[in-house]
């Protein structure tokens, strides 16, 4: 037998060599190390069974090595080599679980004895280990046997218990059977001689009190009583199931689903049989009802006035309601962020992710983009969907369209802006009126007619402006129905031109007109289109007045027809606009006129023309002038909301 491996640790080469030779002779596999540190490396690598170490070494001492070995692998046996007079150290090493110690110079016999001691110890330990392991196996085997016995006993008891319970119920003269009445099924208990022993209440009500009768009596289309499910159960010793036709207590046919169960006693003989059946029609009715209520929920799911999508943990849409599918649509595996936001990755603030995390409901407000690129302002709420174990498997996301509410809010906030802007203009106008009134009253006092006249002109001008502003505000504040009428284009243009020529000539501005003849009629709301064009004319006049570089100012007014469109072309040689002003000109509350503008005029003109399905184009150059081209279709194709 191959002996154990042994590690010799000594700083002296001679001792290592001598020991190596003698121990190899004894049949050991010998390893050597010249220091404690090296020894530990070898131990880690080869795990020798025995270590023979010098106690006194430079660097790591034998005692330290012993400690280290015991810390690592307690099974390694250590023999210490001590010099004369090291008794103290020798005893200390024994306390530290060294197996033995030998003294230098090493006597082969003593070494041999010592090694035998070690061998014995190792062998003993192995035995103990084996024994312990055996014991464990023994206990395991015994336990398994016990469990098996216990199990058989339990099963036996269970079968016994059940059998006796059913026997008990059956024997209790219709009393105990009420226990089974809670079942929505027909339950009956049968004896081996194929007689009915007991039935439950639903059975009694529908099929009659058949106790004492033959098990096969209620079955239709069964020729021999041995063909009944119960008879088959006793015959085959196993449960039977199938669809049968029976007659109820009034003789009407009834299709049923039957399931039977044999009940055995402890000696494995079938002593009873249980028959459980349910009316197939009833079952179908229930199934129908279920389907119906499912449909109802589906309808609810589809009809609620919001978009519903069900999302899995990867944010893929697994289900969605009709409304969602109609406006957003999705394909299998589509992610909600792609469908809702046309994004490639998850949104940063994701309420669905939060709900997956803690199962709470979250909501957020955001803008989503539908199939047709229409944007909806939505309020999103989430709710967790759990399986029967209570784990969140999906999250439902409900998005309510609040676009209209938001638009209303925008309208309200612009109304607020309007009030601010208007109140500022009104302050200016009122101050001007004060001025006019002062001129009139002081003029009367001083009897200077010129001053009164001057004051009166101011008052007239300002009252006119206030009127105009109030009309603008009313137009903005109130959505009025347009009054459509057929209007002769030339007549309409002439009326406008006459009015604007008078206005322009007051400021020394000339107005030239060029109208196509026989343009015919177009369908407009005469009043509002008139005021829209007046607004543009007034702008042209103001632009001329603001320009101080040119000696003469004029406005050209052309009206022509292009295909199905009437074109009003109004061009001035006034101050002109820079790019920024031009871009903002139709914006609400934008005004380049300081005190005189409310920022409503051009906004409203533009809106009116839009309502007529038309457009306004503006070209302008600073210091050269501005040209407005207004296109209005002869017959409006669709009236935008």
């Amino acid at each position: 037998m191959m002996k154990h491996s042994i590690l010799i640790v000594d700083d002296e080469q001679d001792i290592r060599d001598v020991l190596n030779i003698s121990l190899s002779d004894l049949g050991y596999h010998v390893l050597t190390a010249e220091s404690g540190e090296k020894a530990l490396e070898i131990i880690d690598q080869f795990n020798p069974a025995i270590v023979l170490t010098d106690i006194k070494m430079p660097g790591m001492s034998g005692i330290d090595l012993l400690k280290a070995i015991k810390r690592r692998a307690s099974d390694t046996e250590v023999i210490m080599i001590t010099g004369h007079g090291d008794m103290e150290l020798a005893i200390q090493s024994l306390k530290l679980n060294a197996t033995d110690f030998i003294t230098k110079p090493i006597n082969d016999d003593i070494l041999d004895i010592s090694l035998k001691k070690v061998e014995e110890k190792i062998a003993m330990r192995r035995q103990i280990q084996q024994y312990t392991q055996n014991l464990e196996k023994l206990v395991e085997d015994q336990a398994a046997r016990l469990i098996e016995i216990e199990r058989i006993q339990v099963v036996d008891q269970l079968v016994h218990g059940m059998t006796s319970t059913i026997k008990h119920i059956a024997n209790q003269d219709n009393q105990g059977i009420t226990f089974l009445n809670d079942f929505p099924w027909f339950v009956s208990i049968h004896s081996p001689n194929l007689k009915i022993l007991a039935v439950n209440q639903p059975y009694k009500e529908k099929l009659g009190n058949t106790i004492g009768k033959n098990s096969g009596d209620i079955y239709k289309n069964i020729e021999k009583s041995s063909e009944s499910p119960i008879a088959q159960t006793f015959l085959k010793g196993q449960s039977v199931q199938g669809k049968y036709l029976i007659h109820d207590k009034n003789g009407h046919s009834m299709p049923i689903m039957v399931y039977t169960l044999p009940v055995r006693n402890s000696s494995n003989t079938i002593t009873l049989a249980l028959e459980i059946s349910v009316n197939v029609i009833e079952r179908e009715r229930l199934a129908q009802e279920l389907k119906h209520s499912q449909k109802k929920y589906q309808k609810l799911f589809d009809d609620v006035p919001c978009y519903i999508a069900v999302l899995n943990r990867s944010f893929q849409i697994t289900n969605a309601n009709k409304r969602f599918i109609k406006d957003f649509g999705y394909q299998e595996g589509d992610h909600c962020y792609r469908v809702f936001k046309h994004r490639q990755a998850q949104c940063t603030e994701c309420p669905v992710a939060n709900t997956f995390k803690d199962g709470k409901s979250y909501h957020t407000e955001t803008v989503v983009t539908a199939n047709d690129n229409k944007q909806y302002h939505v309020l999103i709420r989430t709710a967790p969907i759990r399986n029967t174990d209570g784990d969140i498997i999906e999250v439902m996301e409900m998005a309510t369209d609040i676009t209209q509410i938001r638009e209303l809010q925008d309208h309200l906030s612009s109304l607020g802006l309007l009030i601010g802007s208007v109140s500022h203009s009104i302050k200016g106008l009122l101050t001007g009126l004060d001025g006019g009134m002062y001129l009139i009253s002081s003029g009367i006092e001083r009897q200077t007619f010129d001053r009164v006249k001057e004051g009166w002109t101011i008052v007239q001008l300002l009252v006119g402006r206030i009127q105009k502003m109030v009309q603008d505000i009313l137009f903005y504040a109130k959505e009025r129905e347009l009054k459509w009428e057929s209007v002769d284009v030339i007549e309409f243009a002439n009326e406008l031109a006459t009015m604007m020529r008078t206005e322009a000539s007051k400021h020394g501005i000339s107005l030239s007109c060029k109208f196509h003849e026989s343009i015919g009629t177009f369908t407009i709301d005469r009043g509002v289109v008139h005021s829209a064009l007046v607004n543009i004319f007034e702008n042209a006049i103001d632009a001329c007045l603001a320009d101080k570089n040119k000696p003469d100012h004029h406005i050209r007014f052309n009206v022509l027809i292009e295909k199905d469109t009437i074109v009003f072309d109004i061009q001035d040689n006034g101050i002109g606009m820079d790019q920024e002003t031009k871009e903002k000109i139709f914006t609400l509350f934008f005004s380049s006129k300081g005190h005189r503008g409310t920022g409503l005029g051009m906004f409203i003109s533009n809106k009116i023309i839009q309502q007529h399905g038309g457009t306004i184009q503006v070209t302008s150059e600073p210091n050269h002038g501005t040209r407005f081209i207004i296109n209005i279709p002869i017959i409006i194709k669709h009236i935008p909301e």
Binding site: L430, T431, G432, G435, Y438, L439, S442, G594, H595
Partner: protein
């Protein structure tokens, strides 16, 4: 000699009103349509008092005032702000008074009289 008031406003009607009002009460007036023009007039004419609108197209009130306050010989000329802007009282703190449009002409005249006399 009559005291001179410089009226800086872009609204011709208000200018007409203020010039008439000040003439009737024995003051001379100077007129500017915006801050830039105002500065030119200010330097050449050295008025005794300025009424200043805040919102004007070319150069508006506060900026005009900042420029004026940098010139040592101009910075002590009293300024009355006349504006329709809400919160106008905060825009030029060193103004003698800030009057909101529409204003009470008697009150305006009282302040002018207190500041530069008849």
């Amino acid at each position: 000699m009559a005291k001179k008031v410089l009226i800086i406003d872009d609204d011709p009607i208000i200018i007409k009103y203020l010039t008439t009002l000040f003439h009737d009460n024995g003051y001379e007036t100077l007129v500017a349509n915006d801050g830039l023009e105002g500065m030119t007039v200010l330097k050449s004419e050295k008025p005794d008092l300025i009424t200043l609108d805040l919102e004007m197209p070319e150069e508006w009130g506060p900026r005009f005032y900042r420029k004026m306050a940098k010139e040592s010989e101009l910075k002590d000329i009293p300024v009355i702000v006349i504006s329709g802007l809400s919160g106008s009282q905060y825009s030029i703190k060193k103004a003698v008074a800030t009057i909101k449009k529409p204003f009470d002409k008697e009150e305006l005249l009282k302040i002018v009289k207190q500041t530069i006399g008849e």
